[in-house]
Amino acid sequence: MKKYFFLTLSLAVIYLALKEQGPVVETEFPAPVRKIASQATPPTPKKETVLLPAKQNTSYKQVERKVRERVSPRTAEDFQQDPSYKLTRGHVFISNVGAIPKENYKSTMGEILYQDSVFVFVRSNGDKALLPVAYSPSTGKLHPISSILHVDNATESVRSEVKGLGFQEYYYSPGAKLLSVQSTQTEVLEVYSDLKDRGFEVQLEVVRPHQQGI
């Protein structure tokens, strides 16, 4: 047994000695004391296998097939992007598309360009019921814009100034220095312009799904 131990040990040392070619640097953190688990552990089959993953045949928590909800590239080519609006990171404002909750959609509003579980998205046609929309080029998804917009770098003095101007505070985060302002989805762009014109660092937010338990 001891013989095999030293044989394994020697092979391991030779292997790593050959692998370790990088320069040795001074270790100034408290030196890690390591317990290395069994070297004889067999390889994990799942990582070598190209067949179906275990969770497909054993779990009540099977992965549900996610149908990719994305705008077709051809449709996206016609989007009129307006970069003058600052938005949730990774999104651009689209001026020729509007959103409406599914239950309020009528066919007279036009052809559905895209839909998710809550909203449908159609060409803007001047209908005031349609909500402003943003597009994520990286995920190919459309999202309506929230009526709650944000003032960045909002110190307490900025917060007081904004409130003093008559804007309605929704939430204030002293840690993030973020002041959230309540508006309505039909007036949010006007409020955005108003705040921007007054010199505040204002930003729109998209309505999108929550994080999920994993």
Binding site: V25, R68, V207
Partner: protein, 712 residues
Amino acid sequence: MRIGFFIVMFLAFGCVKDEGNITKPNFGSGETSGSSGGSTTGNASTGTEDPLATYAWHLENRGQSSFSGSGGKAGEDIKVKTVHSSLNIKGKNVRIAVSDTGVDIDHADLSGNTLSTEHRNYVFTQPSRWAGASPYPSDGEAHGTATSGLIAAIGWNGIGSRGIAPSAKFAGFRYIFEYSSSETDASMLARELDQMSGSFDVFNYSYGYSGTDFINVDPKIFTQLEYGATTQRSGKGSIYVQSAGNSYTDYYDLCSGPAISCEMKVSGNSNSSEDQASPHKILVGAVNALGLSSSYSTPGSGLWVSAPGGEFGIDEPAMITTDIAGCSSGDSYRNYNYSYFNFGSHALNPYCDYTSLFNGTSSAAPVVSGVVALMLEANPNLNWREIKHILALTSDPIDYDPLNNSIAHPWGFNLLNYVYDYKWTRNAAGFYFSNWYGFGRVNALRAVQTAQAFATNSLGTYEKTLNTVPNPDQWYYDSGAINLAIPDEDANGVEDRIWVGHNFLIEAIQIQITTNHTWPGDLAVHLVSPSGTESRLLNTNSNIYSLGLNANTLLLSNAFYGERSLGYWRIKIVDGSSAITTKDDGTITGTGSLLNWKILVHGHQSSSDLLKPYPVTMLSMPSGSTSATTSPVFSFADTISKSNLNRYEVAVGTTPGGSDTKAWYSIGTANTTLQVTGLTLEDAKTYYLSVRAVSNQGYSSTVQVKSWVPDY
């Protein structure tokens, strides 16, 4: 040096310190299996034994099956039993926020440990209603009750199992809920910021975004995290613990019609979601009862540690924990078809108050949150960095086999002459790191013992390599505009490098990357430190959905922990697929170039470096000067502090920091634009201009370097 290396290797392999005793590794399997649980464990206090605790392999793995079809492997656990029984440490006086689907706060095994006035419910639209509201979940939202039980179910009360920190107190946040037609307008940002704030020691986040997408998040999330980690807990910082994800093998369908099948097989990565790329979070992977990475656990260079999350509870053990009480709600009811333990007729679970089916990295994060609570009882003065440091020092690098260390693509999408990834790497500071395990599976006993003895405030001042002027939040080390074509289906990839002049002891590395690649799901991102350690921040052919790593996409690696940051950092981008493949609605073209990348070092200066002034920043050369042969012009920004600054010095050489072409000379402190004169340079040869700061005591900073190639 070689002798020293062998000594280190012998210490690592042949003679290790285990729970206070010097022992040799155990090469025997020592496995027992068979019964679901079996023997009773001794009482750790004056209370009554928890009847399900003996079945819970994550508390003590004796090879029990935990009501599944097979047993685990004895000894493959987190060594928490001794912490409870011998050290009598159970998380007392530690406050935890469980931000999840809400909690059954009336559950008999939980209610006594809740902070009853500090729950929150974010279902409400108006922020004024969030705090203090009942977090009671809907019937189907059992997730938060299960995670809460893993952390802080009451111990030795004669019912159920027990938490890792059975004396800790927790508040339940109902933060995760269905996106439905009832909510057509809200601020997720305000909710997310709010559930990161408050007077809690630990925040447990067993949630994430879809593992199949690249997700951008608002930068304010990082601002709030840093605020929480540096100001909450009276400046010691709250500890944010988050699950890595369950998307190691995942898939989705790009086609909407049932007649067409274009299934996309995905291999998830923790770095696909920017909110997981923060050094202020402890990202957790899952391991099973055999001591291996759970089949679903999302790997990534952002992981810090791993912890029990189990498999699925049918064929192999999952986790035993609390469920929404009663047989008409919760996981135990909804999933009754899958396990007799959850029917409601099992003698140990007659009222369906517990489940044996909970799993995922959602389980692993609460285990770590519980361990952190034990560490904080042992030493309440530990700050957030010290908690991370102790976890890195004391976790067990399981599943380590140096002779079989390479990993193939989980779906078989391998690239010729290319290793998909390595299971473990050993960095130049001596830390073992794995994208599947982080620094290893947490070892509660060693973590608590180390915490008890740890000298707080010994890690130095936390710093980042941000600009000082003119934009304080701008990353300093930036490739600038580049355009390097990424070759298709080529293991050699394309490489670039950035010089880092700060000589920090690294605590984390973040990069931002911009490409115009049309299918970044093809791409691997390798980063190599000046010490030669390589980390893969993304893996080839992940098929993570995106139209581009196209806007400073943020990635995190912890693989370089403890190394020095000074020197060249190399990035390599490898495209694992041919240019045109059948992926998206038939075909997709996956080509593009690396356009820009940046690197941000998080760390601290070693005590011997504190006497040295900071290096200059923003060293640059006007584009018109790149052909200069005799008198190139450079500019730079001042050091952070000039109070003890004596002068700047400049040299030119044929190596970084070299002075073989023009020796070091002083340029004073008044000017930050300089023209080097009197040079005689060769055509098409690379030259390096080096600038350093020198203090009044004569200490020199590390050098900043700019290279150029004269073009006659």
